[in-house]
Amino acid sequence: MFGIHYRLERKATWLILGIIGAASVGGIVEIAPLFTIHQTVENVPHMRVYTPLETAGRNIYIREGCYACHSQMIRTLRDEVERYGPYSLAVESKYDHPMLWGSKRTGPDLARVGEKYSDEWHVAHLTNPRHLVPESVMPSYAWLGRNKLRTDDLGAHLAALRTVGVPYTDEMIKNASADAYGQAAPDTPYAEGVTQRYGEATTVRAFDGRPNDLTEMDALVAYLQILGRLTDAAAKPVAAREDNNAQP
């Protein structure tokens, strides 16, 4: 064996091919089947996609690095389920490009934070966390309420997401900017389009409390309020989920 190596290490090409070969096996065995074994992601009917406003909010969440301190993955452990809610299912992040499971909890998990607190609470908390939780070490994000949300390119964002597999319709892409405005302006004609395209259950509210002013705060709060609520599959008993999986 060492004799073979003695010859191998004289040939750069074979050494490199050996490295590529040895290093490829693990990834191929562990990753490739995740795309082909269909039990990997549960089959759930009526899973809704993120609205343009929530997508914008998700991008702000990414931009500010929220994932560095907040996970979105409740593990299958008793204390986590009791603290945060039903454990996370693979399907719940099916439309998350990229996923935001996180790897550190300096702050609590957010996988099911949607509708746990009021919009007012979130706005006040993001503006200055220590007004509500004196011991908090979260940065204040007051400027989110001052920054206008950019909406003109949201159609392009949705189109890119469709390219990678999120089922946005042409209608959704065409109306993305108007829908982003409408979701935070309940008493305008734009609001109707949002519920038409994304479902009656879609939350249409003036998230930052100012319906005429579409800010980054609106978008981030809209995103936080949908977390864990794209599907109710996790709240159903396991047997019911397996029935769904049995369907082709």
Partner: protein, 550 residues
Amino acid sequence: MHYIDQLTRNERQSALVILIGLCAAGLVLGIAGRDSLLGIHGLMISIIAVVTIFAVISRYYNPEPGAERFDDYYDEPSKLGIILAMGWAVIGMFFGLWTSALLAWPELTFDAGWASFGRIRPVHTSGVIFGFGGNALIATSFYVMQRTCRARLPDQLSPLFILFGYNIFCILAASGYLMGITQSKEYAEPEWYADVWLVIVWVTYFITYLRVLARRKEPHIYVANWYYLAFIVVVAILHIVNNLAVPVSIGSEKSYSIFSGVQDAMTQWWYGHNAVAFFLTAGFLGMMYYFLPKRADRPIYSYRMSILSFWGITFFYMWAGSHHLHYTALPQWVQSLGMTFSVMLLVPSWMSAANALLTLNGAWDKVRDDATLRFMMVAAVFYGLSTFEGSFMAIRAVNSLSHYTDWTVGHVHAGALGWVAMITFGSIYAAVPWLWKRESMYSPRLVEVHFWLSVSGTVVYVLAMWNSGIIQGLMWRTYNESGTLAYSFIESMVAMHPYYIARTFGGLLFLMGAVVGCYNLWMTIRHAPRGARSASDLLPTGTPALQPGE
């Protein structure tokens, strides 16, 4: 700017073509992205290119380097790389200190977006991993490959292009985070255009390495080169696969990963863990396999252990990434495979550490007297400790406690400070006098000071994080007598406060060490007495001298 004088006329022309191409690419991004953040980066790229174009033009007609350059190894890129590495070390560690201070004193953000925790944290991680670690790896790999192959770098331009291009990537990364440009993939945060640029640089690096190997006068490829090769090849594979994404448009900095959810999580941690394996381990083992035996003046203890540990590390590590996803929505069979291979990984890891420490047999008096060699010895010890800890934390039951806590942060820093940074400082202190033809560093006493600051900083940091992580993990899962959770989340956070202060202090010690190192480096270059040229500076003309490990 004397780097341009080392280029031949043809190379100066090629450099101009490359720079004009880069400038044009920057302009395209700048114009297409004029109403987004991408425009700023496009403009930055163009400005850097234009400034460099002027520098090349101003020296275009300077005399070309003579044929005598072929008598000597080409070490200017290594010198530049070491200076850049030390500069990034101070920047990256300063941002680390600031990031850690924010957890103890959250108001240090000045109500400014760019200064908030989420934006400066990746400046720290990328600054130290890619800025400090990457430049040190490139610099030492040029040094080591030439000497162990007994062949000069094939040309003057490509090594300088690699360093120049790589540092543009680092600058795009760090400045992007502050503006809010990030993919959110840990340790792969830079956006699509920076990723594409890195691929170009990295392929050049790989080809340069192959060209040196092809010209080698030494029939056997030395073990350090196996590791550097694995580092270059596998990092390329990881980088390309994990960063596959669809940009919103050519004029937008934003892209969407082609992977989602569970597949994305697995791909990300396959990347993330193997960035640890092939960037932070394989590359630095390459460094260790050259500089430790050279400095100790002892051959590598065991050739067979080198072979077994190299292939063990290359094969096993790639399976281990899923241990970052225990108890998650990742299928359990993948979690179990990840755990199994992580535990097995201890064998080749400890074999490497043992090989390094046993090499020091017969040279322990030098370890006592020479802080440079002691840096490398302590690095090997921390390598052994943190790989044991890593295998331990990959066990599902242990991971249920440690995951999401500061224990992970402590583990990473035991490896990053104790192993990666210390082997780098040791190698730099060994290489600098050889490169600049000095008798020794300007002040061996300051190397000693740096050593003790580094060791004490690492120990304080790691102990603080072990304590906070385990306390955190236990508080989250403690039940009271009535069967409900005993602590609210905020109570666990309040309990962290003293440890966060201690950790910041540990980081401060480590940063002070790096600053002392920079001063010592500067004074060595400027003021230390010139030493005689050592035999290893000269290309062999007659019978080869014995190389370490042979």
